[in-house]
């Protein structure tokens, strides 16, 4: 007969649901869409190498490199973020929103190649 008490209890308590557009808060460290900061990126291509699902595409020419990211291919594992030595990649702390056209969220950046800045005090 415990179930009767449980049902009456539930009936009188407030529901625990989030009313529709309201969403539960995202935990810290949530891995969402990958954000690329072009100023910090040196074009090493490590993220494309480490990517598990070929979401990051990296192409090199003599003067420029193109970095592109397709979230529909991404599995949000974070290997690219961990592997970036320049800390140019971070993951957004929110869920990506639903979209309607295939390939809509794809981003790409074409940047000129530049020398990697060695840390000061590096002996020759």
């Amino acid at each position: 007969m415990n179930i009767v008490g449980l049902l009456l209890n539930n009936f009188s308590n407030r529901p625990v649901t989030f009313r529709f557009p309201q969403r539960p808060p995202v935990a810290p460290g949530y891995r969402g869409l990958v954000i690329h900061e072009a100023e910090k990126c040196t074009g090493c291509g490590m993220c494309a190498f480490r990517c598990t699902s070929r979401a990051i595409d990296f192409r090199n020419t003599r003067t420029h490199f193109t970095w592109s990211y397709d979230p529909s291919q991404c599995t949000f594992c974070g290997r690219c973020v961990d592997g970036c030595a320049d800390h140019a990649l971070t993951q957004a702390a929110e869920c990506p929103a639903p979209y309607f056209n295939p390939g809509e969220l794809k981003i790409s950046a074409t940047l000129p190649r530049r020398e990697k800045k060695l840390p000061a005090g590096d002996a020759e």
Partner: protein
């Protein structure tokens, strides 16, 4: 719009019935879809019911990259759902086969086989994101039901916006 059409649009927006189809998924997205029916996220507040038969449903939620063995079943189920219908691709697998991109058992992303209306990104997407996607699909059904009912033509939201329509049998 006549009164009857207005009432039908209201009904379609407020009562989206889902059918869930797993076309080779790892079950992560399926679990999140079922979690959307639990008290915390409560899909029923939008009028959503998970229907057992495709003939009763309006929205097909597909998860999983489409394997070769699932293609036939997918097309059959898609044909069984009565018009007007909408398709929601849950997770990154149906959008683009995700990590299984080199697999030999896959028959490509979902939009190669059936027209898709809403893509819910995530691996797996959170239940509240799935509910958002379903609510958007219900809105598409309500607004574009006319286009979706043209004999044999099923126009996705994207194609509607760009003005092209393909006949998908």
């Amino acid at each position: 719009m006549s009164l009857w059409k207005k009432l039908l649009c209201l009904g379609r927006r407020k009562s989206p019935w889902l059918f869930h189809m797993n076309s080779g998924s790892c079950n992560g997205c399926d679990i999140e879809l079922i979690a959307a029916l639990t008290p915390r996220y409560d899909a029923e507040q939008l009028g959503v019911k998970l229907e057992p038969s495709p003939r009763h449903a309006d929205i097909i939620c597909v998860s999983g990259p489409v394997t070769h063995t699932a293609v036939g079943a997918l097309k059959t189920v898609y044909g069984q759902v009565p018009n007007p219908k909408a398709v929601v691709a849950i997770g990154s697998c149906p959008a683009s086969t995700n990590v299984f991109i080199d697999s030999r058992v896959l028959a490509g992303p979902l939009d190669k086989h059936i027209p898709v209306d809403v893509y819910v990104p995530g691996c797996p997407p959170r239940p509240d994101a799935i509910l958002q996607g379903v609510a958007k699909a219900a809105q598409i059904l309500a607004e574009h039901a006319e286009a979706k009912n043209l004999a044999g033509v099923n126009v996705t939201h994207a194609q509607q916006a760009s003005g092209t329509a393909e006949v998908k049998a």
